[in-house]
């Protein structure tokens, strides 16, 4: 008969595992943070942290509206300050009845004041913390503080944090801002040949004032993705908007989709809308006399999705040719606009030029990387655009008035 002692010993040890004592955390004792904002407290160097915490019972019951949750809000929003982010967050525990948990946080909003001062504390704290995941979205509050963004009831979701996360997830549709998660922000922050860019978010009046419709509780102000926050090292140095933001995405090769407005043939005051489809960008560098020159080659399709004018006397092939020409010009203008805004005005390499030249000319990079920031504003860029319009919605001819 075999000796049973090892089995008996293991059985006696098993109860040690069952309790899970040290890490036992019941869900009803946790405060699940959905969004967090980081500001500089007024008139001090202290951090002000605002956490949007889900109230699952209310949120799940359709709270905030007239559903099962009654008039209760689906989120509880609270702020606390501290000399460090960690201290501010610990101070939240003074009045929140539950233990703060970051594992489900969707968005980090950095207040403009913090971003202009230094984003190091935010990047450090939220990437050092094992609860937070690197796929958490990160944005900069523009023209307002992070607290206002986090406390505003915005979007169609019960949880405003989820609405902001959805905005970022689908940011490629308008193509006028970027998508940035903590992983990308941390990489851009740490890498020597890249600077940080983050999406900018602001509050903008997009809904009818509250109370106009029965049951409408959303505020008039909605969170809106607006432009791109540009950093030099650890500090925010400015924002770029609309055309320049799209141009920036072109140069970085990150544009997936957008709408470009062109003037109608023969009707300069009227517009056409072309949706950018299947864009492809090739950025190459060349060293000419120790100075690098970049060449951006864009090859893209566009779909003519709207024509606000009647185009007499031109056939579809002529319209296509004219639109393609304007489309290519429009793209080049966007790129030039980004070059002006960023390279000339802000002087910080967020085009990934340093990143590309490091890979394309590693020897040159090794000897010149320390002077790259000084060289960047003077770097020349050549742009060439190949643009095609293979579809005009489901039309096959221009919008012409024809006799019956």
């Amino acid at each position: 008969m075999s000796r049973p002692w090892p089995q008996i010993g293991l059985l006696l040890l098993l109860p040690l595992l069952i309790g899970g004592c040290w890490d036992a955390r019941e869900i009803n004792q946790l405060a699940l943070v959905m969004a967090v904002g980081v500001d500089q407290a007024e008139d001090s160097n202290r951090f002000l942290v605002t956490a949007q915490i889900a109230r699952p019972a209310v949120a799940g019951a359709g709270g905030g509206g007239d559903g099962g949750g009654g008039q209760e809000e689906p989120v509880f929003t609270a702020s606390a300050d501290g000399d460090t982010l960690f201290e501010a967050i610990r101070n939240l525990a003074r009045f929140t009845s539950r233990r703060i948990m970051w594992a489900h946080n969707m968005v980090i909003v950095i207040g403009e004041s913090v971003a202009r001062e230094d984003i190091t504390p935010v990047i450090d704290f939220f990437t050092r913390n094992q609860e937070l995941r690197l796929r958490t979205w990160i944005v900069v509050a523009r023209g307002t503080d992070a607290r206002s963004i986090v406390t505003t009831k915005t979007g169609m979701e019960n949880i405003p944090g989820a609405s902001i996360a959805a905005l970022l997830r689908y940011a490629e549709l308008p193509g006028e801002s970027v998508r940035a998660d903590v992983a990308r922000a941390l990489w851009s922050f740490l890498a020597s040949d890249v600077n940080v860019i983050l999406p900018a978010i602001r509050l903008s009046p997009h809904l009818a004032p509250a109370g106009n419709q029965e049951g409408e509780k959303a505020s008039a102000l909605q969170a809106e993705l607006k432009g791109v926050a540009i950093f030099n090292g650890t500090r925010l140095v400015g924002f770029v908007d609309e055309d320049a933001a799209r141009g920036l995405l072109w140069i970085r090769g990150e544009l997936r989709n957008s709408v470009i407005t062109l003037s109608c043939p023969g009707h300069p005051a009227r517009n056409m809308a072309v949706e950018i489809r299947s864009p492809s960008v090739d950025v190459t560098s060349e060293i000419r006399g120790q100075r690098p020159t970049f060449r951006i080659r864009v090859d893209t399709e566009g779909w003519l999705n709207e024509q606000d004018c009647v185009t007499e006397d031109i056939d579809v092939m002529q319209l296509q040719e004219m639109t393609e020409e304007r489309f290519a010009e429009g793209i080049e203008e966007d790129i030039r606009s980004a070059l002006d805004s960023v390279q000339r005005n802000l002087g910080t390499d967020v085009f990934l030029y340093g990143f590309r030249i490091h890979r394309q000319h590693p020897q040159w990079w090794r000897t010149n990387k320390d002077h790259w920031n000084d060289m960047f504003p003077e770097v020349a860029t050549e742009v060439s655009v190949q643009a095609r319009i293979p579809r005009m919605g489901i039309y096959v001819r221009p919008m012409n008035l024809t006799a019956p």
Partner: protein, 370 residues
């Protein structure tokens, strides 16, 4: 000839799992701190180096057939030197067992059970591995097959979950830190591969149909190394291309950060517990094999037959708890240990002993001919 018999494919999976585990995150992090985006090249070179040294181990295996290293090493190297070599191999396997245990323990303690005292993980993991080693190599072999499967599934799920963020340019430029630095850094990755190389020497006598497999051992060893590379190499490549070398360098367990960044659509956007389970089988099987070989090697030197295998294995495991806890209790020191001390201590044994044995076999043959 040992009475334990394991299948050919089981042996291959054991070798595959022996290179698995620490290499995904700990070694990758150390390499990223040394050679940045070239970390995957260093790891690839380490696998190639291991494959070359395996030629020497298979040569020794062919020379001695079914005889165990515990018998032929003292015969080949002389009684005293042979015992010393066996004792050193035992210490190597024990050290590798400790580092494999720490791999699992720190994954759990840093990410999933942060409040649980580390000593609990150390003691429980050691006891579990002890139980596995007590059950023997056949159990470890069966677990290894499953471990290889789960390791491949884990790699596949990570690849699928992070492909959207894969940026090939981050892998470039090649040899950015210089060929010499990349080669030197590959020595750190060699520590994972070399243990499998050394273990292949000890594993062969347990494989069934020895006469038939003796000549095929090099191919089988390479196959094991190949499977090990298949389940391991995706990680450093994706760590660089998805997270970036700078982010990989920032963390002690870079693979966990990559795994946690994987999203299988927006519906399965986090599955770190599942990942941890898939990861643990292979590492657990590896730990069992290493503790088993550590015990057999040391027991062959320190005569402990009177104690019985179970008791001597328990004593060895209990003794290992002290260095085990000492290493794991300070993460900064452990990182430094992996980068400096461990390669210095382990590589001369793991590569050196098989190469020395192969050289002795060559010398003996030449002398015999003379």
């Amino acid at each position: 000839m040992p009475s334990i018999q394991i299948g050919r494919f089981q042996a291959v999976t054991i070798l595959a799992n022996l290179v698995y585990g620490k290499s995904l995150g700990f070694t990758a992090g150390v390499l990223a701190r040394r050679v940045g985006n070239d970390l995957w090249l260093s790891m690839l070179i380490a696998f190639a180096t291991g494959a070359l040294v395996m030629i020497a181990t298979s040569y020794v295996v062919r020379a001695f057939g079914s005889t165990t290293p515990f018998e032929y090493i003292p015969r080949l190297a002389g009684r005293a030197l042979g015992k010393l070599l066996l004792f050193l191999m035992g210490l190597l396997f024990l050290g590798a067992f400790i580092t494999s245990g720490i791999t699992v323990e720190l994954h759990l303690n840093d990410f999933l059970m942060t409040e649980t005292p580390l000593v609990i993980f150390v003691v429980l993991y050691t006891l579990l591995v002890l139980y596995g080693a007590f059950l023997g190599l056949e159990v470890a072999a069966r677990l290894s097959v499953w471990g290889l499967f789960t390791g491949l599934m884990l790699a596949l799920s990570m690849v699928i979950g992070t492909t959207d963020h894969f940026w090939f340019d981050r892998l470039l430029p090649l040899f950015d830190h210089g060929v010499r630095e990349v080669l030197l850094a590959s020595l750190i990755a060699d520590t994972d591969v070399a243990v499998a190389v050394a273990a292949s020497l000890f594993l062969f006598p347990y494989v069934h149909k020895k006469t038939e497999n003796q000549g095929k051992w090099l191919g089988l060893s390479w196959l094991g190394l190949g499977f090990g590379a298949l389940q391991s190499m995706a990680w450093p490549i994706f760590e660089v291309a998805v997270l970036g070398p700078e982010v990989t360098a920032q963390y002690l367990i870079a693979c966990m950060q990559l795994g946690r960044a994987a999203e299988l659509s927006i519906y399965v956007h986090r599955y770190e517990m599942v990942m941890m389970i898939l990861f643990s089988f292979g590492v657990f099987a590896k730990s069992i094999v290493l503790l088993y070989f550590a015990h057999e090697s040391i027991a062959a030197v320190v005569k402990v037959e009177r104690l019985g295998r179970g008791a001597s294995m328990t004593v060895l495991s209990l003794l290992s708890l002290f260095p085990h806890y000492w290493l794991v209790s300070d993460r900064q020191f452990y990182s430094l240990f992996l980068e400096t001390w461990w390669p210095t201590l382990s590589l001369p044994i793991a590569f050196g002993v098989p190469l020395a044995l192969a050289a002795l076999v060559v010398v003996r043959r030449l002398m015999g001919r003379a």
